[in-house]
Point group: C2
Chain length 230, copies 2
DNA sequence: CGGTATCCCCGTCGATACTG
DNA sequence: CAGTATCGACGGGGATACCG
């Protein structure tokens, strides 16, 4: 919680709670369904655990988050007040989508992208059984270049090492390109046609893959120029 | 602009721009129509001018604000991108209204309240000519206890000194009470009935006064319990 | 009116390591 | 898995004064 503004305006009172660094991103993670400390960390990997812990305590004190400890594990849950922050985060994300298009190289974190993709897998469209997809990012240092996604109806696992299963499909391209697809700045088919992103594997799986990985919830936000054309 | 989060998520990119201290309140002021530096200052009186200046420059760089200098005066205007922050500020204010009810004494700034009231005067309901209304806050140190509002169809002026005109109506009560009325936590008639707020003057003007001072735009936000009863 | 200039402090945050 | 502990730097921003 930032220091007080000494204003009675509700915008000020809300901002007091929310303008601390990382706070809104933690709430974004909670809204997107993460409940455990280490899951939250994966959504904000550059945030130190100490600060995450502090932010969570602040949010608990503010009545936005409930910490539920059942002895075996701890869960952080949004209270009704916290859940009602969804419109704030949504409008912020929609605005960011429309008006903050340019991404620096430092904004492109493969770990985060895989974490996002994994959360959004449309398991209804998966083949039965286990499907392993690899991602290779040509513009990324070797250490973070290769990723494996192990997809089943029950769960999706992200690995930064070869889990040993047969690989069904491989996606190759630049990290930037795949991030643009995720954000909806580009769609799968544009990216594939332009050749900067390639998918290898049996035809049927290649065709199905875009369906497994639907873009971010903000992908559908109309871009500033859309209205002019329509 | 805060330091970067190094995330490609649009919520993060938007937050980078907006999570600096005071930034959202400056935008609130711009959205509510203030265009000049010193008008903006009145809306964020506790902010140092140096910081306000810095924030405005950041917002200009971010494409949210346009600084227009015509040689005689400088105007800060929201760009289309800036105007589109309205939903963010509105949802934030609505949330604050619902979930951050308790106000500390330090949140009660008479100057700010008068500034808000003055911006919202419904001049259609004013009597013809000039009407002077005084406010006396019983719970406030002498220096900030008495205020004058000079109302005409053309303009509304706030004074912290007696401007010398005849006073038509006087409002007396605690600052807290009037802030609650402004926020919509209490309505004029409740406050008057309870006697903690009193209005003195000719009957007709006394009756008309609540109409001159409509509550904040957030007053109509339904409170958390409202749904239960309806 | 519309800002700059400066100073300095204190709190925030990042980094790193470690624990039950 | 779920955090604490510690430490240091830096820079944000509060205060105050001043200029065109």
């Amino acid at each position: 919680m930032g220091s007080p503004y000494h204003q009675f305006c509700p915008v000020a009172k809300a901002t007091e709670l929310l303008d601390g660094r990382w706070t809104l991103l933690v709430i974004r993670e909670l809204l997107s369904g993460s409940r455990h400390f280490n899951d939250l960390r994966r959504g904000v990997p550059k945030m130190s655990p100490a600060l995450l812990s502090k932010r969570l305590q602040e949010l608990v004190r503010a009545g936005v988050v409930e910490r539920r400890d059942d002895g075996r594990e701890v869960a952080y849950l949004l209270t009704p007040a916290g859940e009602e922050l969804r419109p704030v985060v949504e409008s912020l994300g929609a605005w960011g989508t429309r008006w903050v298009g340019e991404l620096g190289d430092a904004d492109l974190d493969p770990k985060l992208l895989l974490w996002d993709l994994h959360r959004n897998v449309d398991s209804d469209l998966l083949p039965p059984g286990r499907t392993v997809v690899t991602f290779r990012f040509l513009d990324v240092p070797a250490k973070e270049r290769d990723w494996w996604l192990v997809l089943t109806a029950a769960a999706v696992d992200v690995c930064d090492f070869d889990p040993g299963y047969d690989v069904a499909v491989s996606v190759t391209g630049t990290l930037r390109e795949l991030v643009l697809v995720w954000r909806g700045d580009l769609d799968w088919f544009q990216a594939l046609r332009s050749g900067t992103l390639t998918v290898q594997g049996p035809e049927q799986l290649r065709r199905a893959l875009p369906g497994w990985f639907p873009p971010s919830r903000f992908a559908a936000v109309p871009r500033p120029d859309a209205g002019v054309l329509a």
